[in-house]
């Protein structure tokens, strides 16, 4: 099951906790992976850990040119991009009434527009190959909302609508487009929360614990696999029961 031998995968945001776990899982299933992110150091460390079949392709996705350039770089390194995992994302949290245009726009640029541009660039070879997988990492807050994250929740919800529309267009070409929506996952980002904050979060999670990055990676691996060829336009929620939607 879930053998990706001979497949190539580009993972954005691979320097982060979840992105690193996704790249590791795809690589373990046999895929050649291209690791992208803004911080080259952690990408190099991860590539060194993975060993063969791992390439580093840094990019800053807030730059319009960088997105299409990234797909080209990844294809040059690996020969193709069969699987695109749009995991890169940023937060610029603020109460809605205090949110600046800049905070709104930065999140839209990377989390929504960046995914649009990357997916568009990756589609052409996927169409020709009659096979492709696009997996977009969204968030539970895209479905539930979250105070202080109006920009982030809007971008993540936007990804769901975008993914479904694209899924319609390319389904007949063997390309699936799906979302994975993590709940609260233990990463360096959540480590910085206070015990009080963590306690409040955990009280809303039926599973009684935060998720592990590997649990998101497993969902991505499934959707990227040949076995998931009949699943498209779906959002797989991985949140410990926090929102049953």
């Amino acid at each position: 099951m879930f053998d990706l031998t001979g497949r190539t995968a580009l993972v954005t945001g691979a320097s982060g906790g979840i992105g690193g776990a996704i790249a590791t899982a795809l690589h373990a299933a046999g895929a050649t992976v291209a690791l992208s992110g803004t911080r080259e150091g952690p990408l190099r460390d991860l590539a060194a850990t993975l060993g063969e079949r791992a390439h580093v392709v840094p990019a800053n996705l807030s730059d319009a040119q960088a997105a299409s350039g990234l797909v080209k770089d990844a294809a040059a390194a690996m020969g193709s991009v069969d699987i695109l995992v749009n995991n890169a994302g940023i937060t610029r949290d603020n109460l809605f009434m205090r949110m600046s245009d800049d905070e709104w726009q930065q999140v839209m640029d990377v989390n929504l527009t960046g995914v649009f541009r990357l997916s568009r660039a990756a589609l052409r070879p996927m169409m020709k190959a009659r096979w492709g997988r696009i997996v977009n990492i969204t968030s539970v807050v895209g479905a539930t909302g979250n105070p202080g994250q109006g920009n982030y929740a809007a971008a993540k919800a936007g990804l769901v609508g975008m993914s479904k529309s694209l899924a319609y267009e390319v389904a007949s070409r063997g390309i699936t487009v799906n979302c994975v929506a993590p709940g609260f996952i233990a990463t360096p980002m959540t480590d910085s929360l206070t015990d009080d904050q963590k306690g409040r979060i955990l009280s809303q999670i039926p599973a009684g614990r935060m998720g592990a990055p590997e649990e998101i990676a497993a969902a991505v691996l499934y959707l990227a696999s040949p076995e998931a060829g009949y699943i498209t336009g779906a959002t797989l929620h991985v949140n410990g029961g926090m929102a049953m939607i």
């Binding site: 052409r124 169409m127 020709k128 267009e169 390319v170 007949s172 070409r173």
Partner: protein
């Protein structure tokens, strides 16, 4: 038939899986050859690759028939 027209025909036959004798200059990709809108995008991509040219989106929209494609490509190569 020029070389370009032959190559265009071949791409259309292969891509749309239609009979060669139906691929005449006046044939519309969508109305006569059963292409959907995504097929036309893919045809343009295939033409770009075959002839090493760039077909901008506004030009691609004007390419409705086999003859349109041949005419455009002749002007572009």
């Amino acid at each position: 038939m020029s070389d370009i027209a032959d190559r265009v025909k071949k791409i259309v036959v292969e891509h749309l899986g239609v009979e060669e004798d139906k691929v005449v200059e006046s044939a519309s990709f969508i109305d006569d050859l059963g292409a959907d809108s995504l097929d036309t995008v893919e045809l343009v991509m295939a033409f770009e690759e075959e002839f090493g040219i760039e077909i901008p989106d506004d030009a691609a929209e004007t390419i409705q028939t086999v003859g349109d494609a041949v005419t455009f490509i002749k002007g572009a190569v």
